[in-house]
């Protein structure tokens, strides 16, 4: 099975995230990435889950998720009909003499330098998965000291909506 991006609208209550992740663990479904935050309606949160691996039967995943009382709605978003983003922080080792090269790369990718240390530079990058991967590849040559990513978030594209 290819990767699926599930956008799961849930009640914003304590313990809901645990129920979702516990269900994945119990049923043996793999989570590639997970991001969660409150929505425009403060009583609701959106969990964006990327599931993948050939062993994950997506239909079972969504049906089991639907059974959770706190789950309101699930969308299985496909590449064509969603906008998706992820934010990554790269802390790259940057001795003073090579710092400018790294800043150059950051500029080419239209990303931001958010911290400069004695021997490192931290870059904030957002974008779709392919861009972030390309960037990671390039930066690896300089030595990535630390990396943190938010997990993918996604929304369905506007054309999916009905008339305003």
């Amino acid at each position: 099975m290819a990767q699926h991006t599930l956008s799961v609208l849930v009640e914003n209550k304590p313990g809901v995230l645990t129920r979702v992740t516990s269900l994945f663990a119990r049923r043996g479904f793999n989570i590639d990435s997970l991001a969660v935050g409150v929505t425009e309606d403060p009583t609701l949160s959106r969990i964006t889950i990327v599931v993948g691996g050939d062993d994950t039967p997506i239909e079972q995943v969504t049906k089991q998720l639907h059974k959770l009382i706190n789950v309101i709605k699930i969308q299985d978003l496909d590449a064509g009909s969603m906008v998706d983003r992820e934010l990554v922080l790269f802390k790259v080792s940057a001795p003073p003499d090579r710092r400018h090269e790294i800043i150059e790369i950051a500029n080419v990718f239209r990303t931001k330098i958010v911290d400069v240390g004695k021997n490192s530079v931290t870059i904030e990058a957002t974008g779709a998965a392919d861009k972030l991967e390309a960037m990671e590849d390039l930066l690896r040559a300089y030595g990535i000291k630390e990396l943190a990513r938010t997990g993918k978030i996604a929304l369905s594209r506007g054309l999916r909506e009905g008339p305003a």
Binding site: E11, P14, G15, L23, Q60, K67, L68, I69, V71
Partner: protein
Amino acid sequence: MRMIGGKALVQALEDAGVDVVFGYPGGVALPIFDALYDSTSVRSILPRHEQGATHMADGYARVMGRPAAVIVTSGPGATNTVTGIANAYMDSIPMVVFSAQVATPVIGTDAFQESDITGITVPITKHNYLVKDPAELPEVIAEAFHIASTGRPGPVLVDVPADVSKAEITYKWPAAVNLPGYKPTYRGHARQIKQAAQMIAKARKPLLYAGGGVLASGAWAELKELAELMQIPVAATLMGKGAFPEDHHLFLGMPGMHGPKFVNYALTETDLLIAVGVRFDDRVTGKLSSFASRAKVIHIDIDPAEIGKNKPVDVPIVGDAKLVLAAIVSELRKTASEPRTEAWMRVVDDWRARYPLHYQHSGDIVMPQFVVERVRELTKDRPTVIATEVGQNQMWSCQYTRIREPRTWVSSGGLGTMGFGLPAAIGAQVGRPEHLVVDIAGDGSIQMNSQEMATASIEKLPVKVVVLNNGFLGMVRQWQELFYEHRYASSVLAQDCPDFVKLGEAYGWHGERVTCPDDLDGALGRAFDHDGPAIVDCRVSGEENVYPMVAPGGSIDEMLGGIPGGPVSEMLDGELLTEVWE
């Protein structure tokens, strides 16, 4: 009305229509028990172990079709309910468990008798709650009972901290619950129903495969109507026993690992499997690839996640079995469909005659199957609930009883919980005081909750326990005999320890021992007629096996033991076969 949380909880139970609580107190649960003390409409029963409480509520729900409540204290009280909750979850039995919890300010500090019971029970409850705001108590309880008893039923746990049950609140029972994420589908899809009806009308070798969902939905009349209208034979799972009268000529028996051979042959040969409220459990299907492999499959279930989970389905129908079966029947009547199963029934009847269940009768030794047969015969003319423990005793009970009334069979299916039978029988007796309630037990299982014999005595619940005392963890021993070269590791008990008659006497029960087949009827009769609880210690043949048997992972038409006969393809009678195929 203003009242404290504990009082509100009891008031809510009354408003939810609960008439019995199985409760075991402890420190932080006292505000609730104190309120319970004043209730006139809720009967309060003290089990001797919290596991017993949950199985009692489970047994009650199985015979009544509605939930009872369980109330326990925090920490060990709560953790002792885990097996009972898991059991109810696996068998989709409605139940609401209230666990007291340490006070909210100390939650998370490893306070005395604190356990994260909502965390522990996430995977074994349909839903659970930790109530932090006392004002929410009535609403949460209304939701808990609604969730437990609608859709696919199941257990719900409500964790109530001590400060919540002491806080004063304004009590108001909500007129309706509002759960935006919970909307079970009851009506089947019209087009799917039509298609199912068309397939049923055309099928030459249809088979109904009925499970616990038929009982949960109260769909037995509709099931019978469909079976009779189209003359379709019925196989009922362990959970579905009682969904169809077992003395009916269309009733075949239990499919799967220990089902009669002819039932598994019918499953292998059917051209249309009509699965109702079942989940294609591995104990039924054996090797999935050869299960009903010649059949188109219609699957009716209220839980969409069950459809297609294990076996691909041709016509999925998500809905309540009662409504869906009624719709299918009305569609068949509209199209004036006629049964076409005469030849098929002849094939099935021929198998039935050739491959009945079978065991070696004896004049000297009490055979366990014989005991079940005698229980069946001696209870024929009175309303009876049969409960079982787990192991060989359970399988023989499945094979040799004839359950004729819905919701009079109480047995742990999905979890296979030894120690379930006695407390579940006690719960069933609470719900059905006029019924004779018999627990067919194993000598191992009965010892797992035998402390509940006290509960039966004190609460005047005249349950009967018939122990198939074989001196072994028999089902384990059977597997060791067959698959582990007779190495009986940790499966040997002792027939005379404990002395079940004396154990019964210690609890104020009537007790008898049977060592010879001729004495069986007398002992059973006296036990059943006794006006209090009774135990009959049947010293049965020690190394008897449950047959026939599908080897684990094998195809269900290839069975060990029983009347010799090969796989179904070799067994089909040539002439009948041609007729069926046309």
